[in-house]
Symmetry: C2
Subunit: 363 residues, 2 copies
């Protein structure tokens, strides 16, 4: 709480997952948070969750965060700018060029508006899924434009920092091109792939493994939201999808004549290009830090995993990550423990001394 | 060990991930396992890992499991059929029509051959990644054909059952069509999507979230293997990819004219079709069993997670799954614990009584 930058009050319009999560986090810092939503039941739920208080006569917020669907973002931002002539207004919509253009068209005072986009979310929406730590360690784009000074926009950076996010400055065009690539096109591709499963036989679906689950997980996203996002970032998404299609055509041609000259090479190059592309994504924690991953066999009975972790704790080792693999019917589970490489050898020796079986180690 | 069906000896040709994992599991059942590999160092490593023994004069295996790349599967199967005239031979290649056709062309004695395909694997290959429980709970396709009787093929079903897998009978054509849909096409799509990242700016890549990571994870697969798999299942994969392309064209057209009549509807229908497709995939454990997922806040210091799990163990509750979310710099981690729904309410109450903070619960 000592490091809080924002003073407040902060007004949050839209008490869904993002708005409520921002509210929860700011309340933990002791900031006065005012919540508003077109739905009285949504705002009541968010207040009950501790994400802030209802608006009151004479509220005079320093900062307003608009957390509503992309389609209505510009309208609400314009209304807030007009209603609170001293406040800085930001939004969290996942597209940034379209709302800015719309605000300009509406004649809004964009010298007090700067868009932002926290790269965080959950599959489940609503205040009930809100988490104060939703933004911790996540990039938070602040999408500058030439109508506002850096100094005036500083409270949005403070907001991101107070919430534990990593502020990234980027103009609206670069932002939209970037998210088309890392978010909007992957959504379309996952949806198209999952759509192929609609008419599959139960037998075929029964063979699904982790690969299919991973590649299609985000296909469960809400159509209403994505119509808005893709509509607002259409040209750039279309451009990337067109390049994807060119590559796809090459694979289809190769597979239609698998013995033709160049077919094997075309397929190999496709997979190799994918290798090169995926290698560019930073690690789980958004950084290149490598951990040693030690897999330990754990009997499948209550208390065994706890005993393992107790002993790791007694050794003074902090786990960076933990994954438990557990198959139905199997008598053992496998706990994969990620630790900093410096402690790997000692930890393995100590665990083996205590009778644990190490099933594998990877860097 | 009491439920072992196979008698053995079992000969395994190819001491990579699958061959070594089968060997490890059979050795746990006390079956005599003979290992062979073109690479002396690979077979030595697998023997050291406890996956079996080296071949010896006078070996007379009942069952031979060929675990080599798809390209050479038929050749090796034919050689094994000739070398061991009393043995039943199976293989584990991920395509089934092409090897059978090749064996027929080679004039091999297919009355002693039945292909199979365990739907299991890991991102890391080789004997060093082998695990006896690799097949537990996983589908294991036995790809029948009209050249062999069910009775003669029974030991392959015994093998699958001894390894804890779920045998599924399917003819070679149905098998190849099914894996094209659930495995081969997803691989191509993930690779094509990841390939788009090759020329992305570091800034754009820096915005990558879990969605991009999931959709592209399998793009790190080996080109050599996939050239073989896709080459051997080309027509069916091409057909599904062509249908994918038809849908993709519709999205691109809509995004190129986002304000045209029908564009929003085309996008909404694409996302909705993806929703419907992904909903058909059974849960993580290959069954529809739902677990309650309780998210508990855990201080980021050694021993805290252990304390939580100890207390859960003391309550006699068995965890079905455990995921730890931990962000760099955050002072708390979140442990998501999956339990059978019957214990959910009691567990939450008991944890709260002990001072744990529940961050969320989902079904």
């Amino acid at each position: 709480m000592s490091e809080r930058r924002l003073v407040g009050p902060v007004r949050i319009v839209g008490a869904g997952l993002l708005g409520s999560s921002i509210g929860l986090a700011l309340r933990q810092h002791g900031v006065d948070v005012i919540l508003a939503d077109v739905s009285p039941s949504s705002v009541t739920l968010a207040v009950d969750y501790g994400a802030g208080r209802l608006a009151a006569e004479g509220d005079n917020p320093d900062l307003i965060v608009v957390c509503v669907p992309p389609d209505v973002t510009a309208t609400i931002v314009a209304a807030e700018l007009a209603a609170y002539p001293n406040a800085l207004v930001t939004d969290v919509a996942s597209v940034k060029s379209a709302p800015l253009a719309e605000l300009r068209a509406l004649g809004a005072d964009i010298s007090r508006y700067i868009g932002s986009h926290p790269m965080a979310g959950r599959e489940r929406g609503g205040a009930a899924s809100a988490r104060a730590d939703l933004f911790v360690g996540r990039p938070w784009v602040i999408a500058g434009h030439d109508g506002i000074s850096y100094r005036r926009a500083a409270p949005v950076e403070d907001l991101a920092l107070d919430l534990g996010a990593l502020p990234i400055e980027m103009d609206v065009v670069e932002h939209d091109a970037s998210v088309a690539l890392v978010s909007h096109v992957p959504q379309v591709v996952a949806s198209l792939l999952a759509a192929r499963l609609q008419e599959a036989s139960d037998t075929a679906i029964g063979l699904a493994g982790q690969g299919l689950r991973d590649t299609t997980r985000i296909a469960s996203s809400a159509p209403e939201l994505w119509v808005q996002i893709l509509g607002a970032n259409a040209p750039r998404s279309a451009e990337i999808l067109a390049a994807f299609r060119t590559d796809l055509d090459r694979v289809i041609t190769a597979l239609e004549s698998p013995d033709a000259q160049g077919s094997r090479r075309a397929i190999a190059e496709t997979i190799a290009s994918g290798n090169a592309g995926v290698a560019r994504i930073p690690g789980k924690h958004g950084q290149a830090r490598h951990f040693a991953r030690i897999t330990v066999k754990v009997d499948d009975k209550p208390g065994e995993l706890a005993r393992l972790l107790t002993e790791i704790g007694e050794l003074g080792v902090n786990m960076e990550d933990l994954t438990l693999e557990h198959s139905p019917g199997a008598q053992i589970g496998l706990a994969e423990i990620a630790v900093v490489p410096e402690v790997e050898i000692t930890l393995i020796a100590e665990l083996e001394k205590r009778g644990w079986k190490i099933a594998g180690v990877t860097q």
